[in-house]
Amino acid sequence: MIFTATNVLNSKIISMNKEFVKFDKVDKSYDGKVLVVKDLQLDIAEGEFVTMLGPSGSGKTTCLMMLAGFETPTHGEIYLDGKAISSIPPHKRGIGMVFQNYALFPHMTVYENLAFPLRVRKIPKDDADKKIDKALSMVSLQGFASRMPGQLSGGQQQRVAVARSLVFDPQLVLMDEPLGALDKNLRESMQYEIKHIHESIGVTVVYVTHDQSEALTMSNRIAVFNDGKVQQLSSPDELYEKPVNSFVAEFIGENNTFAGEVSDISGGKCKVKLSNAEILANPISVKGKGERTTVSLRPERALINPGEKMDNIHAGKIEEVIYHGDHTRVRINLLGNPEFILKVPNSSSNMDIKLGNEIKIGWNSEDARALDPK
């Protein structure tokens, strides 16, 4: 498929309504005892690709179901393009949806599946056929119109489901873990495909997944859910580089942590006292001396045999070396943390990484974020 520059440009221009979808103080409880979603406040701009990411049971799917209309908020209101939609039944919301197991109608051909939303909207057959052709070519499935879903592979079914959710030109498409059932390679290629489709037609997408790499690859912004709350809502790079709390730091990507107590804080740096050492860190959610904190450091931000510029240099013993092809994972016992992970590129200069060796590790205090204690 060819994506022209204008298409990409279009998607940038479309972003105009900053509050296209708005969750306003939404609570949801199923049993009257436990809140699955707590006081949710979330704005999604038009044309945006927002991913709700979180562990299972974090309330992300519930949010999606409330948006689709299959669940009603216990409290609060959801606005779509400025209109409150709590009282609108699902079939009048005009929201496209891709379900976890595709939910293709097994007794209809691909063509009939795609024609379903057009027929119920009483779109004339000529127009409908054009739209179906367009949608099928968008997912590169021309010529599959007369197949039954059961005759398609998982990836093809997935594409049909995407095409079906887009064929009636909805302004908003919801995707509920649509790639969960695919194998790894297919999943990755579908991620790009969905991302490209989003860019080319500029539709607003709300995507739910528990796979962080999927979220990082596809989204404009990611809302990390935990315990019924949005922990952080920001772009993928910010989420990865600058997590605001230890849950996000832990959930997104790999993470080395040191638990300790702030012993000094000054000039954008703080000293954190560990059980047997002291490290410099970047105070994010600590305010004063004596606070408990968890210092989070991405594995690739730490270097072996560092130069003198780094303000944290410590020695540790290599406990484990795991070969990963393009890089090697090295587990080091560092400052009382036996689970300290380093990712070392496989190059000839790093040949001295051997089990049991004592090596020096360094990192900048800026990259070591002192967050809330776990």
């Binding site: 689709a68 209309g69 699902p90 079939h91 939910a103 109608f105 379903f116 939303p117 009636f168």
Partner: protein, 417 residues
């Protein structure tokens, strides 16, 4: 294996195929021994009785064996006028032998099935035959009763000559072979079987429809409710299964009779007057109500098992794509339940068409089915061949329905679980 390929030998030099067969023979024998009891059981309790029934329903050897010489002599008779002396003499010979064995009564019963009026003239013939003189039997027999001189009666005897007959089947459809050998219907006021066949079909059809209408929502509820409620509902559906059929039918009798609970209730709420209680039992209504209730689980269970496999996200998808709840149901959910509907309807219809105890107890005169008639001939008239014939007609009717279903819906489209 192509002829060019060399025969593959195992390490000890035996051809591979032989060795494979040897290795599998033990398993095959084991498997056969496991199914043998069932096979044996099926042959004894199903194949053999059905075969016997089929044979019995067309078997007409009795008369053939009682009058062997007569039928031999009749071979040359054209059936136009009275047979000649040869036939009468042969008949006399056969008859004397029957009288000696005291079997002439059976002959009269059998011949009476074919044509009314044989009973009395055979009795008379027996009495008269004691004084018969040798020779000229035609004159002597014809003198016994004027019917013996009637060619119709001799034709009736001739019709019993073949060892096999389809007349029981004709009788089951209220038809018979008349004097001219044509198949005609019996007089209108004696056509009892056709009415019964039609009523059986009608009741089976409507019971199936009622069962479907009631079972569909129940099955849907069962398939969609959370486990703890659906289990309870399932028990309610299965409870009738654990109760004796007789008890269930009897309880319907208590409910439906004129002084019964349902009538009391209707009177209580003022729906009907006390002196004008409707009859809900001993007629079709009774059969409908009781059979629908009893056959309901047979509809619920196949529907449930099919609905259970339909993902709830399909209905959601239908709605999210813009279909109203009705459209989503009708275009998405309903078509997917058709295999269950087919299975349930076929099951209920076939069970209803052969239903016996319930219509016998609550059906009364206007609510009995063909199976009650079969039972009647088995137990009361002892006309087993007729009962067999009707039983086989019922069986072939069911097979026809099965065939039709296969043609229309396709039997591989059926789903029982």
């Amino acid at each position: 294996m192509s002829s060019e390929t060399k025969q593959i030998l195992t390490t000890d030099g035996i051809p591979l195929e032989v060795s494979l067969k040897k290795a599998e023979r033990k398993n095959k024998i084991k498997a056969f021994l496991l199914v043998a009891p069932l096979l044996f059981f099926l042959i004894i309790t199903y194949v053999f009785p059905i075969g016997d029934m089929l044979f019995r329903s067309v078997d007409d050897k009795m008369v053939t064996q009682m009058l062997p010489k007569t039928f031999k002599a009749m071979e040359n008779w054209d059936g136009q006028e009275l047979p000649d002396e040869e036939v009468f003499a042969a008949f006399h010979e056969d008859f004397i032998k029957l009288v000696e064995d005291k079997r002439e009564g059976k002959l009269s019963t059998q011949l009476n099935y074919t044509k009314n009026g044989f009973k009395s003239i055979i009795k008379k013939l027996r009495r008269a035959s004691k004084k018969f003189e040798e020779g000229n039997y035609k004159e002597q027999i014809m003198a016994v009763h004027k019917r013996w001189a009637d060619v119709e009666y001799w034709r009736a005897i001739q019709r019993r000559a073949p060892e096999f007959t389809g007349q029981k089947y004709l009788k089951g459809m209220d038809m018979y072979v008349n004097e001219e050998g044509k198949i005609v219907s019996v007089e209108e006021d004696r056509r009892i079987h056709r009415v019964l066949w039609l009523r059986t079909l009608e009741i089976a059809f409507f019971v199936t429809v009622f069962c479907f209408l009631m079972a569909y929502p129940i099955a849907h509820l069962l398939a969609t409710l959370p486990m703890k409620y659906s289990n309870l509902l399932m028990i309610c559906v299965l409870l009738p299964f654990w109760t004796s059929l007789l008890v269930r039918t009897a309880s319907w009798m208590i409910l439906l009779q004129q002084q019964g609970i349902v009538n009391d209730f209707f009177v209580g709420i003022g729906l009907v007057a006390d002196d004008n209680r409707p009859e809900m039992m001993y007629n079709k209504t009774g059969s409908y109500v009781a059979m629908t209730q009893i056959l309901l689980p047979f509809m619920v269970l196949p529907l449930y098992s099919v609905m259970k496999t339909i993902s709830p996200s399909l209905m959601r998808a239908g709605k999210s794509l813009g279909g109203t709840p009705f459209v989503a149901f009708w275009k998405v959910y309903f078509p997917l339940t058709i295999p269950g509907i087919g299975a349930g309807c076929l099951l209920v219809f076939i069970l209803a068409i052969g239903y016996y105890i319930t219509p016998a107890l609550v059906g009364g005169a206007s609510g009995t089915l063909i199976s009650n008639q079969i039972a009647f001939h088995m137990k009361s008239t002892l006309d087993w061949s007729f009962a067999s014939a009707m039983g086989l007609m019922l069986l072939s009717g069911v097979l026809v329905i099965y065939w039709l279903y296969n043609k229309i819906v396709g039997i591989d489209n059926i789903k029982l679980g």
